[in-house]
């Protein structure tokens, strides 16, 4: 088990190094650089600035300097936001994105398992048909549409209640989080519902469920201990990629709900060619996802006894 985790972590570091390298060279190949601005800059000033930031050095040398700094946990200083360290940006804003993402994942997983189990129980009857229709909407309609609809709903709800139950945007309290997290988790919830439904139906015909009935067990025990427990396994498997989808997809929802998460910096940095912030956020997101996938794999080892972590 310890050896397994160690090996996975080493593999993870290699993956992150690869992400960093690919991003670094892709970034430098994009036309433009962070020193470009609307104002006319004389060649002399520009040369001074380049020397100041080390951009005059050969690309490979920049790369190795960058790797050496990154290995020490130093992502450098933002080009466009004066004197702000990339580490500070991540520390301050990722907390917010993470809180939103975790809540969204929780909604998605719980909702997916619940709705999936429900549709399987009511197969081809009204609840199943209605929920599966909503699932198709949830999968095919993009997140920003739901974000707008969510805000509209919140406005109407608050107007009907006469007080502000959920704020329309911003960040700070739990009530700020709920609606954006629901919106963010919706697509994944829909996907997990479908997965859970098909998994439940597949297991409904399994021989071991017939054995459970032949043992004369009560229906709810059969459902909990034999059907649900086994049907959840595929859902756990896709949780890793789902976390990826939700954390990287958070940007749009954060923008609509005016949430100061990391996603905004992630996108802005690319537009402004803010080299250090691009590298910092990309490598950080990459490392985070690699880590979450490892965590999910370890959890899977506990959920399914057939998986041995060696």
């Amino acid at each position: 088990m310890g050896r397994y985790i160690l090996r996975r972590l080493v593999q993870g570091v290699i993956t992150v190094w690869f992400i960093a390298t690919a991003t670094f060279f892709a970034m430098h190949n994009v036309p433009g650089d962070p020193l470009q601005s609307d104002k006319a800059v004389s060649a002399e000033i520009r040369a001074n600035l380049e020397a100041r930031y080390g951009l005059d050095k050969p690309l490979m040398e920049q790369y190795f300097i960058y790797l050496a700094n990154m290995a020490q946990g130093d992502f450098g200083i933002s080009f466009t936001q004066q004197n702000r360290e990339v580490n500070d940006i991540i520390a301050e804003h990722f907390r917010i994105s993470a809180a939103l993402g975790i809540l969204a994942i929780a909604f998605a997983a719980l909702g997916g398992i619940l709705w999936g189990a429900l549709t399987a129980l009511y197969r081809n009857r009204l609840p199943d048909i209605v929920i599966m229709l909503l699932v198709i909407l949830g999968i095919s309609v993009p997140g920003f549409v739901f974000a707008g609809l969510g805000q509209l709903g919140v406005v109407n709800l608050n107007a009907a209640l006469g007080f502000t139950l959920f704020p329309v945007g911003g960040w700070g309290t739990v009530s700020h989080m709920i609606v954006p997290a629901l919106v963010l988790g919706l697509g994944t919830m829909a996907f997990l519902t479908r997965l859970m439904r098909s998994s439940m139906l597949e297991i409904a015909n399994a021989d071991f469920l017939r054995t459970a009935r032949a043992k004369g067990l009560p229906a709810n025990r059969i459902f909990r201990k034999h059907q649900l427990r086994n049907a959840i396994l595929p859902v756990v498997t896709v949780l890793g990629p789902s976390i990826a989808a939700i954390t990287t997809g958070g940007f749009v929802v954060e923008l609509v709900f005016a949430i100061p998460g990391l996603g905004r910096y992630f996108v802005q940095a690319v537009q402004q060619s803010d080299y250090t912030v691009i590298m910092g956020t990309t490598v950080f997101y990459g490392a985070f996802l690699v880590f979450m996938v490892i965590v999910v794999d370890i959890i899977y080892g506990f959920v399914d006894p057939r998986v041995r972590l060696e």
Binding site: A206, D207, F208, R210, T211, A212, R213, A214, K215, G216, L217, P218, R221, K225, H226, R229, N230, L233, V303, D304, P305, R306
Partner: protein
């Protein structure tokens, strides 16, 4: 009173292609300590018969049209209850064809065996678990305490079937229904499992209903035999009657199609030509008529009644055959068909 009695059982399945008449009037009785074998080819309704009265077929699409099932005189049709207590697992234990898929892959063997004890006998988890280890030992699984902590994927097929038997017998049922228990196992393991069942039966006196298509298993295990064809019982009798005084042409066909290990004579296997009738629309007459070498005109149009075959010693008719050949006016000399003394 018979321990288990099934009478006039009719089961149908609704499918897109129409209604399948899977079981068309099956009766049998099972007495304490007795072994009844139900024989027949795939699709003849053997499994549906036992799984329908125990409530294991999905309904819908399955449907018990009519019939009854009683255990010690109590109605249990569809897996019912006696005095508010569940019959399945307590009074009737069941094991199935494929032990590899018949156990829950995410639960330890010990927990699965302990489950009926917790539910039916109200045992605490710890006591039930201790009992599960004893049961594993009883089914001759080495290192039962260690094995109880393992999961099904760590067991071999034969071991899993032993675990299934331990589970089925955990609440000391009076009836064990074994639905092709050895079909998925290789031959040496088959013999071990059958021996185990015989030994356990000797110890606790349970009755066994054994479903199989293997006549070798029947000869080894059964007291009484039920031969089924196209959803009906075509012949019934003691194992000697059915094997040595076969009274139905289908039974003869099955025997001729059975491989033997006798080299003298070099007998070829004789398969039964044709295939079973379409149970979407069962034939009006005898279901076997289209494949029967002795078929007469009457066989096509009218369903044959059940005839008692008179035994040599007594007047008893405990041997029955559903075939027109036994009609008193029938003078066809059907070679091999036993017509009574």
């Amino acid at each position: 009173m018979a321990l288990l009695e099934v009478s006039d059982l009719h089961v149908e399945f609704d499918t897109y292609g129409g209604t399948v008449h899977a079981v068309r009037g099956v009766d049998f009785r099972l007495d304490e300590g007795q072994t009844l074998a139900i024989v027949g080819e795939s699709g003849c309704g053997k499994s549906v018969t036992v799984q329908s009265f125990t409530g294991l077929i999905p309904m819908p699409p399955g449907r018990i049209v009519r019939g009854g099932a009683t255990l010690r005189g109590h109605d249990i049709l569809g897996g019912g209850r006696i005095d508010g207590k569940e019959v399945r697992g307590r009074e009737i234990g069941m094991i199935f064809q494929d032990p590899m898929t018949s156990l829950n892959p995410t639960m330890t063997i010990g927990d699965q065996i302990a489950e009926p004890l917790q539910v039916h006998a109200g045992m605490k988890r710890r006591t039930a678990h201790a009992r599960a280890v004893e049961l594993l030992e009883m089914t001759r699984i080495p290192e039962p305490a260690k094995r109880a902590e393992q999961y099904p994927f760590e067991f071999s097929g034969g071991m899993l079937q032993r675990a299934m038997i331990a589970m089925a017998l955990s609440c000391e049922p009076s009836v064990l229904i074994a639905d092709e228990p050895t079909t998925a196992l290789d031959v040496t393991i088959q013999a071990q499992i059958l021996d185990l069942m015989v030994d356990l039966q000797r110890e606790n006196g349970m009755a066994i209903a054994l479903i199989t298509h293997d006549l070798g298993v029947v000869a080894r295990m059964a007291d009484e035999v039920l031969v089924m064809y196209a959803g009906q019982v075509v012949e019934r009798g003691s194992v000697d009657d059915v094997f040595y005084r076969s009274a139905h042409p289908y039974t003869l066909g099955l025997k001729a199609a059975m491989p033997t290990n006798q080299s003298e004579g070099e007998q070829d296997l004789q398969p039964i030509d044709g295939s079973p009738p379409d149970l979407f629309a069962p034939p009006e007459g005898c279901g076997y008529a289209a494949r029967c070498p002795f078929a007469m005109e009457a066989c096509q149009g009218q369903p044959p009644p059940v005839y008692g075959i008179r035994a040599a010693a007594a007047d008893a008719y405990d041997h029955e055959s559903r075939c027109w050949l036994h009609h008193e006016d029938c003078d066809i000399a059907a070679e091999g068909v036993h017509k009574g003394e």
